[in-house]
Symmetry: C2
Subunit: 343 residues, 2 copies
Amino acid sequence: MKRTTIKDLSQYLSLSTSTISRALLNDVHIHPDTKKRVLEAAQKFNYKPNATALSLKYGKTNSIGFVVPEMITPFSAKVLQGVQNILYPLGYKVIILQSDEDPSRERENLLLLETFNVDGIILNLCHETFNQNLYIEIMQRGTPLVFFDRIPATSLDVSKVLVDDHIKASLMVEHLVRIGCRRIAHIMGPATVRNSAERASGYKRILTKHGIFDPELIIKTDGTMFEHGKMAVKKLFDKKIEFDGIFAFTDTEAIGAMNYLLEAGVKVPDEVAVASFSGTELSTNVFPQLSSVEQPLEKMGETAAELVLEKIKDDGAVSKSIVLNAELVYRASTLAKDKLKKQ
Amino acid sequence: MKRTTIKDLSQYLSLSTSTISRALLNDVHIHPDTKKRVLEAAQKFNYKPNATALSLKYGKTNSIGFVVPEMITPFSAKVLQGVQNILYPLGYKVIILQSDEDPSRERENLLLLETFNVDGIILNLCHETFNQNLYIEIMQRGTPLVFFDRIPATSLDVSKVLVDDHIKASLMVEHLVRIGCRRIAHIMGPATVRNSAERASGYKRILTKHGIFDPELIIKTDGTMFEHGKMAVKKLFDKKIEFDGIFAFTDTEAIGAMNYLLEAGVKVPDEVAVASFSGTELSTNVFPQLSSVEQPLEKMGETAAELVLEKIKDDGAVSKSIVLNAELVYRASTLAKDKLKKQ
DNA sequence: TATCTCTTTGGGAACGTTCCCGGATTTTGG
DNA sequence: CCAAAATCCGGGAACGTTCCCAAAGAGATA
């Protein structure tokens, strides 16, 4: 049950492969009758062009790689959605690889994509510097690389799409202060990505401004999942550090933290308000609903896809850094309160 | 900055492409010195074999398609994880496409994968019968198809991996009865997939056995997301139907329902117990934690990948239906209670 | 009628790789 | 020392497609 090829058609119709090809490609140099015969035969035998052969001929595979630290949370899934919105209608396929927050796994993934001959790569990195040289090499070897969310050192000349972590974090922390929090803890992201530092610096700036900064309130984590949020709160409890608000690096961490609080009998937001930084629907699908910086994730994916297409079309295209706006949405987890004494 | 090919190396070393190829492939018919020279040159110019050329030559692309109704919830992501556990080490790439619960989109996806020449397809369908003929055609044209979770009509001779929906649903509903629920609502899955009917029949069987079945308590939905769970509870409220337990088709629906209840001031599990059918980490990352039928999703993906590999190796391989076990895990959302009067 | 142009078709190289086949050289065995 | 065998290498086809080039035939023009 082999797939029919142009050669099959040429034998069936006693024509050359050239003629078949011309008929299929709407070439003008062909007799209408011949064209009709070819098209009918193609229909009859369900001819479909062999994409692999075309890839070989034209040196492009019409595929792009999408490399993310994980695919379990809706974060990457939302971005992917945007990427596919753009790429799918153009006939591109997307190959997805997960790095499991492991830079050496990320390295393998990138090299694998290179052997796959992808036309471009969209990447959310898992370590700011570890693979920096590899990024440069890959781009030099001709595969465009576009970053989103977690980006490499600014010295690298690459296209990227991001939000202003510092500003948006500041605004959300400011909100926590406004509703009456005075001991705001920060569940900080992994030290290996710059967003962690950016958001933490926004947090620190606001608290310092109000004279309520306390380094004890920063809990460092080495991941971004539910359990990391839980562990962070556990640490605060263990160290008997008092707090009445939490600003978390991601919504998964915020939710992990919140559930841990609820299970410990702590009321949210009455005793502890919780806010996060994200953009997935998780924030509206918990109780109480979560205040968060809503990044336009789908838009982020679309933008990244457009940037990589630009680079594919013209490999000399100037690199762009696109900063998307993120919206602050205040929900039940940070309801204004006449502060009650906690714990 | 073109990639180096065997031809480049052959010119550089004044050898034929045959010899280069032999050296690279560890052929025995080659002089050790020659081999050494070639390997060094390959290293020097960072030679990497062109996967596209190999695909063309061998008629296989070393890629498999993964088609799912959606990728936003962790469900598909967990299965994908399993798929990649098996396929990644073997050098296969996975191409992921989302059907958005739309059968005609699913159709497009399958046809696209066919033009991509994937070696096999792993599919979670979104309509039991709509694309049945297409499945048959695709398999006849030589691309093996393996199903998981939502499977086609049993008359179709295909490999598939699933759990026993009826039994497991029965057991979970039995548990709800055991803890004291008497008015158990069922948030039923989409009518277009057989799992919905299977789980609903388990539900119905148990309630009938206990003489507490009431058709009013079945709420049909046309999706499996948070919002469908919410809408279902809203319907129950609107119709003023009393209930003290919920068995939901998925954990996302269960969580949507639970949050809606909590926001309405209904206590879970005190007034309404909630149970679901799933296997993602969402069930342990809500408050209260959710009792659910935990499907071994990663295992499911691994099994599906193995099945598709079998079919790739030998297209006459006999089709298998593998039924995986699912574990019932009881958590806080169905704590045994001395029933209080509700609402 | 001879030449020119236009239309339609076929031949074949190219993309990068493997592998079969045959040829040249060296080694082995009697 | 000569034949046979082993070792090593190059040529070229094949995978499926496009596209350049050439050729054949028809029609047009002088």
